[in-house]
């Protein structure tokens, strides 16, 4: 446990920071064991907070406060298996830990060094128990450079961050590098923005640096509007100081003295931790005037977003920070030159900024070695959908989709067949099976008709209908369109209507052409990136699954058995033994029994296609066509 309390210190030089860190590390070594309890949003939902308190109480009642620390951390990524407890330094991972397991863990594992088998992880379909966190397949192929610290530090403790080397990059930049050096380092590292567009971070900083203006801003984009994505939230919740440090370095490089963190309003924990981190950094002399005793000053404020997807777009975000309606404007002059209140502004994503201290600490060459020719470093993805291990993963660029889905994700549940993976969020694209060996990076994904986006990855199996999927994303985008420009406002509505019609069985000759025309008009003609990429879900599903569209339109059939108006449930007489399970399950009495050993009869005119009979039948006697 840290004996030196941060609130009492102010660090006035590089040396004072280093001495403070040495002191912290000396003190941590004195206490041998750490019980880390994940208190990220996922694990909290499973009761992690009560669990952590129980550990504290138990440690106290067994009189081990001096030897054992209980640490609450941010998300470790493997939320699927939460609440997670990791015992360090052995890194023993206990998953799905319950309140009742606490005493046993303290007595057995902490006091007697015995591993409790029952709480260990074993991969789906295997009985082998895995003890160490790093040996769990979910973590094994990951490269957790940015996200890894989440599992080790308490996000509310500045000392925890300093102890693992926090703010060393800042002091290196301030005292050993010129602003140009910093920009060169970032440029040579090859870092590209993780917010979606993949714009070269160094080049962006350079153009802001070059503008002659006494007032410049650095903004951190923590809007994260993509449904299903939560990497920015997890970073902000779990390691807020790394983002502040990234912002400080950016500000030093471009000559900014003020900054904002734009946090979506649905992220209360991220907001709370960011606020606390700002306060701590300020009082420690790491933020504000004369940082670490240098001549550099920089201050950060928090701006809360209302939670509109479009507010993540740079010009809309800045309008929102300025207190205006969050609506995009044409960006023929870049915000890096004319941004917030018309002053040069660097806008970076949370994950982009979290990479910055690593690059400064370890050097551009180190970073450049990781990844592919034009996409360097790692990327955090949120892996969700029809995959066994859902969660947040951090992988080196260039890893294949197959490795992500099968090795890390543990494959498709229930023995189903993989169909597609949607990458890049709502405006990304769906990639089919023959793209599984694609090396995931900015360019390869775009070439295949999808995109990196912010990193949401949704896995789909044979039970997903691609027309239905396209409609789902499109209607999300329609709902999020700001409505300013014609192609987006009117075009998305028309596209959704056409898809509605196809799904309802009223698809017409020419629908595919009209959808393509509208998608292209959006791509070329929309004002902002929302409309500009909104055609992707349709274009990419058309590109890889046109046959499914045709089945809907021409044959009035939904091959995946999803679109209700196009499917029927039928009894396969040869399989049906008349067990009558379906008769009981049917909510509208559409199935009647013909007596034992006789196949049941399904009345299509009464059937509402709820699927209950299909779900209960154990003999595959109900088919959906």
């Amino acid at each position: 446990m840290a004996l030196i309390q941060t609130k009492n210190i102010r660090l006035n030089s590089k040396k004072e920071l280093e001495d403070h860190r040495d002191g912290l590390n000396f003190n941590t070594q004195a206490s041998q064991r750490v019980i880390t309890v994940c208190c990220g949003t996922g694990c909290l939902a499973y009761g992690a907070s009560k669990l952590a308190q129980a550990f504290r109480d138990e440690i106290k009642s067994q009189g081990m406060e001096l030897q054992v620390t209980v640490k609450t951390t941010g998300c470790h990524g493997f939320c699927e298996r939460g609440p997670l407890v990791v015992i360090r330094p052995e890194n023993t991972l206990y998953q799905r830990v319950k309140f009742g397991d606490v005493a046993e863990i303290v007595t057995e594992t902490i006091s007697r060094n015995n591993v409790i088998e029952r709480l260990l992880y074993s991969a789906p379909g295997s009985t082998d128990k895995i003890t160490c966190e790093h040996d769990v397949p979910f973590y094994k192929k990951q490269m957790r450079l940015v996200f890894g610290a989440n599992g080790y530090i308490d996000p509310t403790s500045l000392d925890d961050y300093i102890a693992i080397g926090g703010y060393a990059a800042l002091s290196k930049a301030l005292f050993e590098m010129t602003a140009d050096d910093v920009i060169d380092e970032i440029r040579h590292s090859g870092l590209r923005g993780r917010g979606g567009g993949g714009f070269a971070t160094g080049a962006k900083w350079q153009s802001t640096r070059e503008v002659d203006d006494a007032l410049k801003y650095v903004i951190c984009n923590c809007d994260e509007g993509d449904p299903g994505a939560f990497m920015d939230r997890s970073l902000m919740e779990g390691n807020p100081h790394s983002i502040i440090e990234g912002m400080l370095i950016a500000a030093y490089a471009v000559g900014a003295h003020e900054g904002y963190i734009y946090i979506r309003h649905e992220y209360p924990v991220a907001l709370q931790n960011a606020e606390l981190a700002i306060k701590q950094a300020k009082s420690a002399g790491l933020l504000g005037e004369a940082i670490l005793g240098s001549e550099f000053s920089f201050d950060v404020k928090i701006s809360q977003g209302g939670g509109a997807f479009v507010c993540g777009e740079s010009t809309a975000l800045m309008a929102s920070v300025e207190g205006r309606v969050g609506e995009p404007r044409a960006k023929y002059v870049h915000t890096s030159e004319k941004g917030l209140w018309d002053h040069p502004t660097v806008l970076n994503n949370v994950e982009t900024l979290a990479n910055v201290p690593l690059i400064i600490n370890k050097g551009a060459d180190w970073f450049y070695e990781i990844g592919t020719a034009n996409s360097k470093g790692t990327k955090i993805f949120s892996l969700v959908g029809k995959v066994n291990n859902t969660g947040l993963i951090e992988v080196p660029m260039g890893i294949t989709l197959r490795e992500i889905i099968y090795d890390i994700g543990g494959g498709i549940p229930n023995g189903k067949k993989f169909k597609a993976v949607q990458t890049g969020g709502p405006s990304g694209g769906c990639l089919p099976e023959d793209k599984l060996d694609l090396n995931v990076d900015f360019d390869e994904l775009s070439k295949a008709g999808s995109m990196m986006g912010s990193g949401a990855m949704i896995v789909m199996d044979e039970d997903n209908c691609m027309v239905d999927i396209a409609r789902y994303f499109l209607s999300f985008l329609e709902g999020e369109s700001c409505g300013k420009c014609v192609p987006c406002r009117e075009g998305l509505k028309r596209m959704r209507q056409i898809l509605d019609r196809i799904i309802a069985g009223d698809g017409q000759e020419g629908d595919i052409e009209t959808l393509t025309d509208l998608s292209e008009a959006l791509t070329m003609g929309a004002l902002c990136g929302l409309g500009g990429s909104a055609g992707n879900p349709v274009l990419s599903t058309l590109r890889h699954f046109q046959n499914e569209y045709e089945a809907h339109i021409k044959d009035k059939r939904c091959p995946a058995g999803v679109c209700k108006p196009l499917i029927t449930y039928n009894i396969i007489d040869g399989n049906c033994t008349g067990c009558n399970l379906c008769v009981k399950a049917c909510p509208v009495n559409a199935i009647t029994s013909q007596g034992k050993k006789q196949p049941v009869i399904l009345d299509q005119t009464k059937c509402t296609k709820c699927g209950a009979c299909y779900d209960v039948c154990r003999l595959d006697a109900v088919e959906v066509k």
């Binding site: 044409a330 406002r489 292209e520 003609g525």
Partner: protein, 243 residues
């Protein structure tokens, strides 16, 4: 001055000029719906799209907002431009099938019918949400009496709460600037009625103390008096009787 080409012809222009301004001066026609010299440009209708080429990269941009630059090459009627423009017209046509202005534009660009005309959500009013009315009311008149409310497909032009006309001075600028006649103004004896796409309001007219004609909305005169620090009695007489 910078040099650029539009449709192959060479032009000189100020770096702050827009492509639209240069083209218009040269008599090259680029259609516009949401542009007016009276207000700041907004880039919403996307009808003024042109293709620009810069360092070998081609893309579509809105002429009303794009600043010219050295070496820029502009094509105002490339195949891509025409295609997107036609779809924009088709979309607008489905929305406002009765607007003469949109029908005329459709004819000019060979859009004979809209593939979307029989779908739900064709509201049949004339507003294309170009925002000219709201911009003139705030930028020029300075009162912000109307605004664009709601997002996405629910967007519309409206008074606050759809019926609060207190801020409106009945000047009629919005009706004048509206490209599709979606806002109308009618004067009858002592009353001016303004009809916006979603609301309507009556405003009393000032009677000339001498000749008795109703010559201007009372609220407009009050507003002018206030702005110019004049006494309202300055407006007792109509312009004809004032001399």
């Amino acid at each position: 001055m910078v040099k650029l080409t539009i449709n192959g012809r060479v032009f000189q222009a100020q770096p702050c000029d827009t492509v639209l301004a240069v083209a218009q001066k040269a008599g090259i026609n680029i259609p516009t719906l949401c542009h007016s010299e009276a207000v700041h440009d907004y880039g919403a209708c996307r009808i003024c799209l042109v293709e620009v080429e810069r360092r070998g990269r081609k893309r579509l941009v809105t002429a009303c907002l794009y600043p010219v630059e050295e070496g820029l090459s502009v094509t105002t009627d490339s195949e891509r431009v025409t295609k997107v423009r036609q779809i924009v017209i088709e979309l607008l046509l489905a929305r406002t099938p009765t607007s003469e202005e949109i029908l005329a534009l459709a004819e000019r660009y060979d859009v004979t019918e809209s593939r979307f005309s029989d779908m739900e959500g064709n509201n049949g009013d004339k507003c294309i949400l170009c925002g000219l009315c709201t911009r003139v009311c705030s930028d020029v008149v300075g009162v912000n009496a109307i605004s664009l409310v709601n997002r996405g497909t629910k967007r519309e032009v409206a008074l606050p709460f759809y019926d609060d006309e207190t801020a409106c001075i009945a000047c009629g600028s919005c009706a004048y600037i509206c490209p599709t006649s979606a806002i109308t103004l009618t004067d009858s004896a002592d009353c001016r009625t303004i009809t916006w796409p979603n609301s309507k309001a009556d405003f009393p007219m000032k009677e000339c103390s001498s000749c008795g004609t109703h010559y201007a909305p009372v609220k407009q005169l009050q507003y002018m008096a206030e702005k110019a620090h004049l006494s309202i009695s300055e407006f007792d007489y109509c312009p004809d009787c004032r001399h």
